[in-house]
């Protein structure tokens, strides 16, 4: 049908037209949509993204590449050193490959696609990652040079478990939210690898390798479960020791009166965590489709739940299938603080979180912002699942 619209993923904006409305705003071929999206003053500065969101066609359009990055200015207020580093925007998308034809074999060789699988999935890989539309491009980084890499996984269903050879990622922000936004005393976190489910983002400081050392950004093999798609290891980019001409532009100045953090009291977090869940999301699937709380989404549905704005809520998202599902909700971030009933050592603020096979995650939803009032959505961000029903409406009142 080729109907289309836009979703502004991760922004704390209104779900009503003409803003982040993917329910009533829809353009058929020949039609136009006019968006005016009011970015709030307290939007966490970082990496977000836009992509199309027409129910039933989201997967194909996102696979084709209808996506792009959004950067909200001001992240240097949290980690000042990044303003002196060269910034790289990396948008990960897919290229479809065949199975046994020589052209596909050549592509798989080029990206060192691993034939070793880490999952119980028996299918052959059908897609590989591109970076800004190129297959295994090179990034110029001189020895010891620090760069600020802002990476969005815009694939409709590939996970990216990112690692850089021989070094740790110095993570500054996840899903657009600087780590310092809620934890001013803790602006960076080191990790050997970071899992980006489809729609996930990471912003990290990378250091150029020693002379002669090969360094690549790669995704590790990720186990998507016995009913999941293969998600093998492959190389995304190589770092090459080349001096890039041109100076680093200064950051766009932002209003210094803007709120810079939203620290939450440990007592508040503890109260939400120790409460029984306010709402349950159950992901299930069968041969006929994909479901939330046994319901397959239809655009005419009433809201599955209604929330009065003004409080933090405890949600538990449960996966009753044999494959992973990334949970996403529009308009807000949430604190992921437990997985399979075990408290995380490092709770994370995200807008998209992986829910493990036959497992669950506990979330503290930030429903405090009056700006988000209206009809919104939450869904699985494997977009073919969303297209086939794994989505539901939420009314913010």
């Amino acid at each position: 049908m080729n109907m289309t619209n836009l979703h502004f993923h991760g922004l704390h904006v209104s779900p009503d037209a003409p803003q982040d409305d993917v329910i009533t705003m829809m353009a058929m071929p020949g039609q136009s949509l006019h968006y005016v999206v009011n970015i709030p003053l307290d939007q966490p500065p970082g990496l977000y993204w836009y992509h199309t969101h027409p129910h039933g066609e989201s997967y194909q359009q996102d696979l084709d590449g209808l996506s792009g990055a959004i950067v909200i200015d001001g992240i240097e207020r949290y980690v000042p050193e990044v303003q002196h580093m060269r910034e790289r925007i990396l948008v990960l998308r897919d290229q479809v490959i065949g199975k046994d034809d020589p052209a596909s074999q050549e592509l798989m060789r080029k990206i060192e696609l691993s034939t070793r699988t880490c999952s119980s999935s028996t299918e052959q890989p059908e897609r590989i990652f591109t970076v800004n539309g190129a297959l295994r491009p090179q990034i110029a980084v001189t020895t010891g040079e620090q760069q600020f890499w802002r990476i969005v996984n815009a694939s409709p269903d590939l996970y990216a478990d990112l690692q850089v050879d021989g070094e740790q990622l110095e993570i500054v922000a996840l899903d657009g939210m600087p780590l310092a936004f809620h934890n001013p005393g803790h602006p960076v976190e080191f990790a050997t690898h970071v899992l980006l489910p489809p729609a996930g983002r990471v912003e990290a400081i990378i250091t150029g390798p020693k002379p002669g050392a090969q360094a690549t950004l790669r995704t590790r093999c990720f186990d998507t479960g016995s009913d999941g798609d293969p998600n093998p290891a492959m190389v995304l980019t190589d770092m090459v020791n080349v001096l890039q001409p041109g100076s680093i532009p200064p950051p766009t100045p932002v209003d210094a009166r803007l709120p810079i953090s939203k620290p939450l009291s440990p007592a508040l977090i503890e109260r939400v965590e120790s409460s029984s869940p306010d709402f349950f999301v159950n992901f299930t699937e069968d041969k006929k489709g994909f479901y939330i709380n046994s319901r397959k989404f239809r655009p005419s549905d009433p809201p599955m739940t209604t929330v009065s704005i003004g409080a933090f809520h405890h949600w538990r998202v449960t996966n009753q299938t044999k494959e992973v599902h990334p949970f996403h909700i529009h308009q807000v971030h949430f604190l992921v603080y437990a997985q399979n009933g075990v408290r995380l050592k490092r709770p994370e603020w995200l807008d998209t979180v992986n829910v493990p096979v036959e497992g669950n995650v506990d979330l503290m939803m930030d429903f405090t912002d009056p700006i988000i009032r209206g009809m919104s959505l939450f869904h699985c961000h494997l977009l073919s699942h969303e297209d086939k029903g794994m989505m539901a409406k939420i009314l913010f009142k």
Binding site: S32, I39, V96, N132, D255
Partner: protein, 110 residues
């Protein structure tokens, strides 16, 4: 993943995949011939174009592949949208895609 597609649809998808793979290979061959030998065959990563509000974005079908694509300033290169907190993003989005599904095009029968 549990598939609800029919076998016919699978065959069409396979044909699409073959077609895309061949096109992908053609692009790669082109890169080989234009790159200097010192930097191997891969291109240097380029950042996408930057833009700020107001923005005009168009969804099209690529004339060669039939695949959906964002067209921005006449190129199929989706921009990075930059905005300050407190600003409005004004964006006009035009759907200039075909009324027919592009899968027929890639299948070679459109």
């Amino acid at each position: 993943m549990i598939s609800t597609r029919t076998s016919l649809r699978r065959m069409i998808s396979f044909a699409c995949a073959m077609c895309i793979a061949i096109l992908g290979n053609m692009q790669m061959t082109a890169q080989v011939s234009t790159d200097s030998p010192q930097t191997s065959i891969s291109p240097l990563l380029s950042n996408p174009p930057d833009t700020r509000s107001p923005i005009d974005l168009t969804a099209i079908n690529d004339p060669n592949t039939g695949k959906a694509a964002f067209s921005f300033n006449g190129r199929e290169d989706p921009p990075v949208i930059r905005a300050k907190p407190g600003e409005d993003i004004r964006l006009t989005y035009v759907n200039a895609m075909s009324t027919e599904s592009h899968e027929r095009c890639i299948d070679g029968h459109a």
